[in-house]
Amino acid sequence: MSNDHHHEENFIQKYVFSVDHKIIGLQYGITSLLFLLFGFMLMMLMRYQIAYPETVIPYFGEWLFAGSGGVMLPENYNTLGAMHGTIMIFLGVVPLAVGAFGNYLVPLQIGAPDMAFPKLNAASYWSYFVGGVVMMASFFTPEGAARSGWTSYPPLSIFESGQTMWLLGMVFLITSSLLGSMNIIVTIVQLRAPGLTWFRLPFFIWAQLVTSFLLILAFPPLESAAILQLMDRLVGTSFFLPSGLVYAGSPVEAYGSGSPLLWQHLFWFLAHPEVYVLILPAIGIVGEIIANNTRKPLWGYKSLVYAIGFLGFMSFIVWAHHMFLTGMGQSMSAFFQLTTMIISIPSVVVLTAFFISLWGGSIRFNTPMLFALSFLPMFGIGGLTGLPLGVAASDIFLHDTYYVIGHFHYVVAPGTIFALFAGIYYWFPKVTGKRMSETLGKLHFWPSLLFMNGVFMPMFIQGLAGLSRRMYDGGQQYAHASDVLHWNEFMTISAFCLGAAQIPFIVNLIISLAGQKSDDRNPWKSTTIEWSAPSPPLPHVNFDSSVEVNHGPYEYSVPGQDEDYCPQTSP
């Protein structure tokens, strides 16, 4: 261990192979935002195809689908669907919520100089980066990218091309998540500043802690499932291939006696906790912003902490509600139906506590708060529409329809992604020392909210009418869906407008970065510890004075005090 932390770092050490949690957090943030944009573009191609099936895609068609004269073929559609899901979840939202926000904010909010294992932190980012490169490279291989859906259900995924690269990419992404979440847990447990007891932790830290436990315990079974699927594809085992299987008209040459259901169990054992990995950091961010902008303590802070702890635990025993149609048996369905109903309770506790927090507050409607406020009804719609999917009887009808797509997109897109936007607007002054434009922020928020609903609300209508989610032509071949097909064009136009609504955000980022730096460390007048550090926080040490915590996380508007907030670090 060298003591020379004063030595000069060159550009590469400082910005590329940095071990500073702030630089790594920014690397995560920039990379994952680019992936979000890319995943969104894949979706726009799909939406064009759904609205105007089997027509030449303007401008890009000739270039992207040269073999078919610019028309998207069914297998192209399948590839776009699989990669849209994979990129949005594993390369976009999770790295942004946990990698970027977790890395940047966890040490700052607990008053620590850095993460517990800085080198491991860098390894986590670079593993993510390699995973991303492998996923991107798979588009350019002769086989093309994966086309078996982000769920990669066997037996089809054993035979379809492109899947091997997907599995290899996933191994890197899983490794990255494991290293990152292990680091976050140790940092929170070990590096809290003096005086920062467990129930003085900001709610965001609790959310990151629960999220990290979910990642560390849920991801490895997917890794083992990925290993088994790789063996099936490359070595010729038949873990997921039942006996007597016929593919493309001829019997499959394999030992058989495997089970496709095994994959679904292993996959959903990860992928249900993964849903909470997507939503918990968002809940944490929204909690911080609501407490700050209502100038009130977060209502029911301890109940919130217990609720998300219980949520994390329960998320491990609900996975088979994705599998009601597999014929796994009534008693299994009954069990998972019951646990699914139970897990909705803590989610309702969280939303209720947030709503009550608004009551009687003097609310400041700035851009972060607008995004945080819109999170509440949007996540509410997403959550409530999930209940009919959790009940086996109604799920049998709704399964694999657009209703399901509408449901989980309400949770993740106007839910989580709005919360992440809120976080970007809220912590931008800490990261850069500059402010983002409120006008452009509102120009970003209102159209986004409108068009988000324009994209996803009609999906409920289509889904209730029974439209299958997997039709590459948007359901033209379904006679009984013809009453609801006219929505396709409306949704596609909304999606393109939603894309255009992100332009003010990008412009805002660039303009604000070029703006004036302010010396104000705490522009939002917030109580949590990160605001007592300089903006941006000092490299490798973060704080310019030693941190000692004397207060709870949300001491806003305490009667008898001069100011309406009392920072955790004030004496």
């Binding site: 290993i227 495997g258 089970s259």
Partner: protein, 200 residues
């Protein structure tokens, strides 16, 4: 980096240092990794035709695996003794015990090599049956863990340890303790693998 607290000394309220907590959490994820494969084994065994797993399982070489079990248990014991020697400030003994640990690990790999190749010679491959598939997957992943552990052990047996011994005795002892926890875990996985693959 040097200003990160609790790298070696224990935090009073948690009673842990960073790397010890870190390795336990890492091991928890490893439990889930092997746990996923073990449950796949159970699932596949139930789904397989009657007697299929037993028939293919009887083709495995139990004496060789028993010998391998003894090798790993021995290596775990010497691993603890090498750490204890460091705590007793007996650097030469530390090197000797760590050396025995490495040799046991290498011997395990050699035995495993002969086991694998004898299977291949008889025309038995992972694709031969579901049992053989899960056998090669589980033991193969375990072998990868052994190789990873050996690389770390060899690093701490090399000249690097002399340097660390002279510069920071506590750091070396801490690193050996952490490595030992991992090594015991890999040993423990084998203790589970041996009965379910060879004996059941």
């Amino acid at each position: 980096m040097s200003n990160i607290p609790y790298i070696l000394e224990e935090r009073p309220d948690t009673g842990l240092n960073n790397s010890k907590l870190g390795v336990w959490i890492f091991l928890a994820s490893e439990v889930m990794l092997f746990g996923g494969l073990f449950s796949a084994y159970v699932f596949l065994r139930i789904a397989a035709p009657e007697g299929d797993f037993g028939y293919w399982g009887s083709k495995l070489n139990v004496p060789m695996a028993t010998f391998n079990t003894l090798l790993l248990i021995t290596s775990s014991v010497t691993m603890v003794m090498s750490w204890a020697s460091l705590k007793l400030e007996q650097f030469d003994k530390y090197k000797m015990y760590l050396g025995i640990t490495i040799l046991c690990g290498l011997a395990f790999l050699v035995v495993k090599y002969f086991e694998y190749t004898s299977k291949f010679d008889h025309g038995i491959y992972p694709s031969s049956s579901t049992f053989m598939g899960i056998y090669f997957t589980l033991t193969g992943l375990h072998v990868l863990h052994i190789i990873g552990g050996l690389l770390v052990l060899i690093f701490f047996w090399s000249k690097q340890s002399d340097k660390m011994w002279n510069e920071d005795k506590d750091l070396l002892a801490n690193r050996i303790e952490i490595t030992g926890l991992y090594w015991h875990f890999v040993d423990l996985v084998w203790i589970f693998l041996f009965p379910i693959l060879y004996l059941l």
